[in-house]
Symmetry: C2
Subunit: 133 residues, 2 copies
Amino acid sequence: MIIQLDLESDIPIYRQLVNQIIEGIATGLLNPGEQLPSVRSLAADLGINLHTVNKAYTHLKQEGFLQIHRQKGALIQPHSMPQADTPFKHKLMAEVRPLAAEAICRGMNEDAFIAACRAAYSSIHHNKGGTTP
Amino acid sequence: MIIQLDLESDIPIYRQLVNQIIEGIATGLLNPGEQLPSVRSLAADLGINLHTVNKAYTHLKQEGFLQIHRQKGALIQPHSMPQADTPFKHKLMAEVRPLAAEAICRGMNEDAFIAACRAAYSSIHHNKGGTTP
DNA sequence: TATATGTTATATATGTAGCATAACAGTAGG
DNA sequence: CCTACTGTTATGCTACATATATAACATATA
């Protein structure tokens, strides 16, 4: 799993990490039960601080995407990934709404907007082969 | 135009303002050429600082949604709203991708995800009557 | 001229991001 | 038991963003 950070971005480093790990799970590049590097080694690889990686891991653990063992380090959640429950759907709507509003102002019709959303979904999902046992 | 701020939110006040004004334009609640309150009066109404409103107005002006005149105050852009150009489409994709990734992890299939995006779009657009000449 | 507007400047308080360093706690393996 | 590696917690620091408070400036209108 290769992680690309943009230190110039306005998106915090720990959030870039969170996003890319979630994306890795979504694409199947990271599989349930798979081991992640320790906070120290990943931090060293990326040239950032241990606490920044730890912050990302802690977020992912609290959302249920990771399990963390003292000695073993971090694992991708092996059983029962988080579900698309009501709070998540609310969060999803709350984040999509402002984007939709701006798209409408800029004259995108519904089909064009939906096409963009579908493209974003497909660009992640098309990699996910059915190789899980 | 009624503006509702959530001072407990993790979304900055000036960004809540930006979002709600864009949403107002999208719904047709705010029409091109329409006058907005002065930074001082809106700040007083909302119980926030003048600079916070000014920051929101300045953002909207730089993106092309507002015109600002010295004495007259702020106007909704009367001619030629910003277009859905390439930079905007890139920004749109960049913001939708992480949402799509998390949705995939949580087991939402493409139809369910697209349905959510469509719902967000429709909830804003259904108010906008076809009154534009 | 008086007034209301946006604009700019300065200062302050608060919170977040990120880094540096250090120490603590648990677990595996020699 | 001891060592080494893990996550965890704590403290201190810099930098930046948010938001406020005051004040002054520039401009256009009545």
